[in-house]
Symmetry: C2
Subunit: 354 residues, 2 copies
Amino acid sequence: MSVTTLDSFRTEKGVDLRRVPVAWKAWGRLNASRDNVVIVCHALTGNTDVDDWWGPLLGPGRALDSDRFFVICFNVAGSPYGTVSPVTTSPDTGEPYGVAFPDFSIRDTVALHRMVLDEIGVTGVALAIGASMGGMQVLEWGHHTDLVKALCPIAVGGRHSAWCIAWSASQRQAIISDPKWKGGHYPADDPPVHGLSVARMMAMISYRSQSSFEKRFGRARMMDNPGEPMAVESYLQYQGEKLVARFDANCYIALTRQMDSHDVAYGRGNYPEVLGDIKQPTLVVGIDSDILYPLAEQQELVQHMPSAEMAVLTSPDGHDAFLIDFEQLSAHLRPWMARVVIDGENRRGSIHNE
Amino acid sequence: MSVTTLDSFRTEKGVDLRRVPVAWKAWGRLNASRDNVVIVCHALTGNTDVDDWWGPLLGPGRALDSDRFFVICFNVAGSPYGTVSPVTTSPDTGEPYGVAFPDFSIRDTVALHRMVLDEIGVTGVALAIGASMGGMQVLEWGHHTDLVKALCPIAVGGRHSAWCIAWSASQRQAIISDPKWKGGHYPADDPPVHGLSVARMMAMISYRSQSSFEKRFGRARMMDNPGEPMAVESYLQYQGEKLVARFDANCYIALTRQMDSHDVAYGRGNYPEVLGDIKQPTLVVGIDSDILYPLAEQQELVQHMPSAEMAVLTSPDGHDAFLIDFEQLSAHLRPWMARVVIDGENRRGSIHNE
């Protein structure tokens, strides 16, 4: 992982930050024209370890081919994995920002990452790809028309729906209701672990589906083992505890608020028209069992984005299918990328083939 | 509301309770043969005020015709609205049962209500009808073959799925994580209001759908009013606070556990065969946007219950459609009841028509 520290950054709402770290990780090499870049955008509790969570898609010969592309993943502002966030020490106070961390929009995060790309000297992005919160960033990258040539937003819509905001709000409330949250001013060694754990339990439900839970757990005998929780209950509690060990409560609040801010049309005009302005070749991927971002949201994107086409992952696994069904994802990505993704290597390849 | 106090009740798990109150409310009059009874079963946070929550279905000339039927609704064991529950004073200790309230299964609740019907001298039940937790009771009433002649379970399956248990478990965890819960031993004047409120916020999501939230709230301008929560967030918080004023945390835990126990086959044999033993004419009602109890669960019931037929409410409102779309519900109920619901009045009506 690398960390690039920017001198300053001003958020959409006009808050100025100084000495702003941005963490990133990359695979492959920049070509001479510095335009063989693939940006991979991570989801809510993700990080820059694309090789961990999208391993089968990344590497030599794979869809995100590190022999051909310079694949880069930036950590999102607000996330505890290296980029500026509530757990970052403020240069002004010498203390972590904590609850004073300013609101970042998805647009802010993309603008921040753009500054690092500029610093690296990137001249072209062949593809921006990501799912869920990552997909929101992809759509914002679509407005960097001077740089970004193709888009692949997955399991996302053009603006966060009331439904998704409801899920986010309930999860934030679980944290805020934990007395240990203390208005966000909790000590590092005594954070609101119960609230964050409950938030994660809720989130895990939203990431899956009725049929995936049924297949995996069914009614693992509660009444035969009175006193024992059911399998699915233990599983969720375990997932809650696991997140607590690797995440921060104020970061969770900041990131879910950032997701709620997602609206490509905000301040830009009429929603369908703003989508119409995203003219890059785009592969919109939906998941047929996704209850958070149902297919109707991806269909809406394809309807209004002039160069968009749709691919559907057929999966019982719900929203999380983008972290599970690599084969289908790869099968949709490869032929589309072969057709539309243009970069230096690709152009040379075309010449070679003639 | 009436309260019938039973001398004793033994739960499935063998716990004996003494002086057990059962609250109920009734409309219409018992006929001479005491068999014109319709049992209406309420849902999780419901009560016996059927005229409040199912008003358009109840009354003279309506689907649940109080000129023809003796319509009765019992409060469920574990609920704070009059039947024995954590807020009931134990005759043994002189204190509320609290967290020591024993596990009740859906089957226990129905057995308890049966004892009151026997005390009233009811000889036949023309119809048992209810949705959600109420539908679970309806399916258990189906095993009282000596008494119950027809069934209408709505928005429910034959056993609680892992998916629904996941929702329940997360909501319980929200309560249990509230330090004011104190292992269930909270004082009456300082209950775990935050935990219960968060649980309700989560539940409200599960009762609706993506499209109903979208239609009602959309993206009511958060970023234009910085600091203001979004409309849907305020709505959920309000719903959470509203429940806290009328419900008890230990009751909420007891009732969601009771719902999780729902499995018509438990201790009776093979699931499809046990459903096959429910031979009464049955109208199974599903809601096409219900994410908790999807149509597949009602189709499963109809597939295995020999005299069951299916009706689908077409609604954007999710699970809650059973409390909203009275017209469709009534339109399905009336012709089916005209065909299958038999009672003294009905028989006289038939003679009159010949």
